[in-house]
């Protein structure tokens, strides 16, 4: 629309303006009126119907255990930072320990000691579980008090027995370090390191700590066959009912179960055991823990939440007695151990 040099008469000018207005409306009106109309009436149910994704109602019987994915999405920069933080003793109040002190990445990602030793040589109450494949656990810690890895990472940092830090202390120490401050700034922005960023980086590192391609996973994928005794061990594993609790990708780590269903275990009085009851307060949750993963189980002795079983035969016998009420024969133990040894996977790619 021309505005300044109008050289014609009033009538024609108004007419032109009116025509322009009309055109404008026609142009704008058509899509404006058109779009809400059909969308709300006839097209709507069709759209919703299309959105439905029909999933197979019938399922074929499949193995209750699934292989670890060969690759997992994670942010390399964050994971790399997490790896540094994982080994950072600055994160303990007396600079004595780091995450790696109690989670041996060269071993099973756990603490080979029955209980871990934190700052000032303080002993913990529970055995440190492995950090490998922790990302597949439905909850973290023995009693599942953390929903995800971030929440988990915040725990030991602030535990007075473990690293004894406060959020502020963590932020302050890392911000004081020029290198950390720069790296955090590059990844997360901002001039100061924040606690959430620290646990996020640690969690991102742990996401990367998966151990795929164990012999058993290869078997599950149909890429390898098991030895007869290993095969026998897997059959025993199912027949004995181990698999009712130890299933899923982590062969455990997806439900809470009681230790000593058939014959209750004697509790150690000298340690404060953090079972589900500590969370829910229900008596029925006494001695109830998150089922631990059996991945890399051959590497993660000693076993159980209290590190009370030194090797696999012992642990198997304990579990058979307390939770199944039976005593395993040596053949059974031999087969089961053979099966469990097939659960040792490849070292995480980020550690290679």
């Amino acid at each position: 629309m021309r505005i300044v040099p109008l050289g014609f008469s009033t009538g024609r000018r108004l007419g032109l303006a009116a025509a322009g207005l009309l055109l404008f409306f026609l142009l704008v009106w058509q899509p404006g009126v058109g779009s809400p109309g059909p969308a709300t009436s006839a097209a709507a149910p069709a759209a919703w119907a299309a959105a439905k994704t029909p999933e197979g109602a019938t399922r074929t019987v499949r193995e209750p255990i699934s292989p670890i994915p060969r690759r997992i999405d994670y942010d390399p920069a964050k994971a790399e930072l997490g790896r540094r933080l994982f080994h950072e003793t600055m994160l303990s109040v007396d600079h004595s320990v780091s995450c790696a002190s109690c989670h041996d990445l060269d071993g099973g990602g756990h603490d080979p000691r029955p209980v871990s030793i934190g700052i000032h040589g303080r002993e913990g109450n529970m055995a440190s579980p492995t950090v490998f494949n922790a990302v597949f656990n439905f909850r973290q810690f023995w009693n599942g008090r953390a929903v995800d890895l971030q929440e988990q990472a915040a725990g030991p940092l602030q535990d007075p027995l473990e690293m004894g830090m406060s959020k502020e202390e963590v932020e302050q120490r890392l911000s004081a370090d020029q290198d950390y401050r720069t790296t955090f700034g590059q990844i997360y922005g901002g001039r100061q390191v924040r606690f959430e960023q620290v646990v996020d980086a640690l969690a991102e590192f742990q996401r990367a700590l998966i151990t795929p391609d164990s012999p058993f996973d290869l078997y599950l994928r149909g890429e390898a066959v098991l030895q007869p005794h290993q095969q026998l061990g897997y059959l025993e594993f199912k027949e004995l009912g181990c698999v009712t609790c130890h299933n899923g990708v982590n062969i455990g780590g997806n439900s809470y179960q009681q230790m000593g269903v058939i014959y209750p275990r004697e509790e150690r009085k000298d340690r404060e055991i953090q079972d589900r009851r500590a969370i829910t307060g229900r008596e029925a949750d006494r001695q109830v823990f998150k089922v631990p993963t059996l991945r890399n189980i051959a590497l993660t002795a000693p076993y159980f939440h209290d590190g009370s079983a030194a090797d696999l035969p012992e642990a198997l016998q304990i579990m058979a007695h307390h939770n199944l009420g039976v005593e395993l024969t040596s053949q059974q133990i031999f087969a089961l151990v053979a099966f469990m040894e097939t659960l040792t996977g490849q070292k995480p790619a980020i550690l290679r």
Binding site: W29, W48, F138
Partner: protein, 711 residues
């Protein structure tokens, strides 16, 4: 007048208010347009979001059902991957997050039940998750025990065949009761387990192997018995979770909200449509208004046009209209009509009478105007009328029309207050531009020579060239006065009896810069009309007096009545006559009587004075034009010069001879001498002598020379 030009002029003078209004209108239009575009975009986005939201809710419903199916699946199958449940819970949680986020984009009002329902669903989901976790614990225990009771029973029976019949029965009872309870999922049927369990508890097997199996069997039975109600409760609670109901409410609430939003959207679109229709109506109204204003303007412009192009008195088109009309004629013909002596009418009968006559004449002219071809009648000035015709298609008989005009006017008698008034008109007709000027030129010709008739301007008349020539002549005359190129030539007058020169007639000549000498025919007519003439006369008088001072011949000087009436000239001549009394005796004034003498007294007085000084008086060119016998007596004329027209052919023309004889007789009796002009041959001289004319003058006797002496 050109209406389009008029229109443009008004548009250019529009007020600044109008411009502001237009800008305002454009601004409003743009604003509405931007609002509409915004509305349209919002509508599109909201619709998309709402559709997605409904679809996500549907998906949520589906996922929930899927989860329930998976829970049942996990209870039904001994081997189950619990990860599947967690993955489903995670998907449901993701869908719920999506729902919340999508809803936050389209939330309408604060008192909507949707956020509350979303929170309730979230809470129910958390509850359900907790229930599922607990269910899984019970599920694993129950499944293992349900598996171990029959398995252990079988082992006892196989490994220890010596067991009592009663023990055997208890084992069977326990197994079947467990089977029934497990498969019916009915805690009421657990009662059937109590009796075999109690019975088995009473047994103390001695065999160590059997005891171990017995203990385990008993423990599993007890675990099953204890867990089944829990399991049953948890399963039902999980299934009956309020989630589904909340989800339904959520869907309904959202649908209701969608309906409300649609209504709002529609009403907004109606609003826009109303605005659109309003602007259309406004445009139509404006168009009407503009049309009305245009009509008013046209009426006004017509009125103005009429006022500007019409003569108020006669109602004829005026000069202004004529100017514009004639430019549009391809082949114009103008009859310029002037009332003869209209001043007389005004003077005699008064201006009102004059106006009356003008009006009546206008009516006559209008009537005379031919119907076809195109033409109009104009009043071009005080007493000037014009008939303008276009000869584009056919030639008009202009002369015929002019004659009709003359006749009509001649026959008309205008009675003003019982006083009959008659007028005559003269016409100048022209087809050549500039129309008015050319017509005026011929009209002047008519006025000068043939009053009361008409003349058609023709290229041959060369009036304009003549005007240009006149101006040239006057210029030359002025130059001649300044450069002393006004000459006096002298032609001898001879005595017919003695053959001797008795005097010379002084004749004016004008010398061009190239030395060529012009005769009076070439300039005198023009000079006489101009203001230069008195100076010319004076110059001639000076020269003659100078030339004849020391000469014995007499000499004559041509004077017109107009010269004599000019006081300046008269006084100048008188002064000369008085200063040179001897020369005055030899001087003759030849008075040209071409015009009638209206004011006789000054002429009479002058003649008496010069006669008293000894000068003689002659009448020049007698026998042509105005020949007044009374003047001959009145002016006491000494001689008369018989006109050349009578003398030129006198040797052949009998009638001329009779006429001349009469004049000579008449003069002889009165004692007046006669002179014959234009004696160009011996034959003429002979007849002149026979007729008894006293003197002769002509080329045969002597040509005019710059000297006053015979050759």
């Amino acid at each position: 007048m050109n209406p389009e030009r008029e229109h443009t002029a008004t548009a250019e003078n529009h007020s600044p208010g109008l411009r502001a209004k237009i800008y305002f209108t454009i601004a409003v239009a743009l604003l509405v347009g931007v609002l509409f575009a915004y509305y349209s975009k919002q509508a599109k986005e909201q619709t998309t979001t709402r559709l997605t939201l409904m679809s996500v809710l549907n998906q949520l419903d589906h996922q929930q059902q899927e989860l329930d199916g998976e829970i049942l699946h996990s209870g039904f199958f001994l081997f189950h991957d619990y990860d599947r449940l967690h993955a489903m819970l995670a998907r449901i949680d993701k869908s719920l997050q999506d729902t919340t986020e999508l809803y936050s984009q389209v939330a309408l009002d604060k008192d909507s039940p949707v956020p509350e329902l979303l929170a309730a669903y979230h809470a129910s989901l958390a509850d359900k998750e907790e229930l599922i976790f607990r269910f899984l614990t019970a599920n694993s225990m129950l499944k293992n025990s349900a598996m171990y009771v029959p398995g252990l029973s079988r082992r006892i029976m196989l490994e220890h065949p010596g067991i009592s019949h009663d023990y055997h029965r208890l084992l069977t009872d326990l197994t079947s009761a467990l089977y029934l309870a497990h498969n019916s999922m009915d805690p009421d049927l657990l009662g059937a387990m109590a009796q075999p369990l109690e019975g088995l508890a009473g047994h103390r097997p001695q065999n160590e192997g059997l005891q171990q199996l017995h203990q385990a069997l008993l423990a599993h039975g007890r675990v099953f018995n204890k867990t089944l109600p829990d399991y049953n409760h948890l399963l039902n609670a999980t299934m009956d979770s309020s989630g589904g109901k909340v989800l339904n409410q959520l869907q309904q609430a959202l649908q209701e909200e969608n309906r409300r939003w649609l209504t709002r959207l529609n009403s907004l679109s109606y609003l826009f449509f109303a605005a659109f229709m309003g602007s259309v109506v406004l445009i139509i109204l404006l168009l009407f208004k503009t049309e009305r204003e245009n009509q008013a303007l046209n009426r006004m412009s017509n009125a103005l046009h009429r006022a500007a192009t019409r003569d108020q008195l006669t109602g004829l088109a005026n000069r202004f209209a004529f100017d514009s009309d004639q430019t549009r004629c391809r082949h114009p013909l103008l009859l310029l009509i002037n009332i003869d002596d209209f001043k007389h009418v005004n003077d005699l009968y008064g201006v009102r009478a004059g106006d009356y006559v003008l009006n009546e004449l206008a009516a006559i002219f209008r009537q005379l105007l031919p119907e076809s071809p195109w033409g109009d009648c104009y009043r071009l000035g005080g007493d000037d009328f014009g008939l303008l015709l276009d000869e584009e298609k056919e030639q008009i008989a202009a002369e015929e029309l002019a004659r009709r005009v003359l006749t009509a006017v001649g026959q008309a008698e205008f009675n003003y207050r019982d006083q009959p008034i008659r007028v005559n008109v003269s016409l100048g007709i022209s087809r050549l531009r500039p129309l008015l000027e050319t017509a005026d030129l011929v009209l002047n010709e008519v006025k000068k020579h043939r009053l009361g008739s008409f003349l058609v301007y023709q290229e041959e008349l060369n009036l304009q060239e003549r005007i240009a020539g006149n101006l040239e002549v006057l210029e030359n005359a002025r130059r001649a006065l300044n450069q002393d190129d006004v000459l006096a030539y002298y032609q001898p007058i001879v005595d017919n009896t003695s053959g001797e020169i008795i005097k010379y007639e002084a004749l004016v000549r004008l010398r061009n810069p190239d030395g060529q000498v012009l005769s009076p025919v070439m300039f005198l007519e023009v000079v006489k009309e101009s203001s230069l003439y008195p100076e010319f006369t004076r110059r001639m008088v000076d020269k003659i007096f100078a030339d004849f001072a020391d000469c014995r011949y007499g000499f004559s000087l041509n004077l017109s009545i107009a010269d004599i009436l000019e006081k300046e000239v008269r006084d100048y001549i008188m002064a000369k006559v008085r200063d040179y009394p001897e020369m005055a005796q030899r001087l003759t004034f030849e008075i040209l009587e071409s015009e009638g003498v209206e004011n006789v007294e000054p002429v009479q007085a002058f003649i008496e004075q010069v006669k008293a000084a000894g000068c003689q008086i002659a009448i020049d060119d007698f026998g042509s034009g105005y020949s007044n016998f009374a003047h001959i007596l009145q002016f006491k004329v000494d001689s008369i010069k018989i006109d050349a027209s009578l003398i030129r052919n006198i040797h052949q023309d009998q009638q001329a001879r009779v006429l001349v004889r009469t004049i000579v007789d008449f003069c002889r009796q009165l004692g007046i001498r006669t002179v014959a002009e234009f004696v160009h041959s011996e034959d003429v001289l002979r007849v002149v002598k026979e007729l008894g004319i006293d003197y002769s003058q002509g080329y045969h006797l002597g040509q005019p020379t710059p000297h006053c002496r015979p050759e």
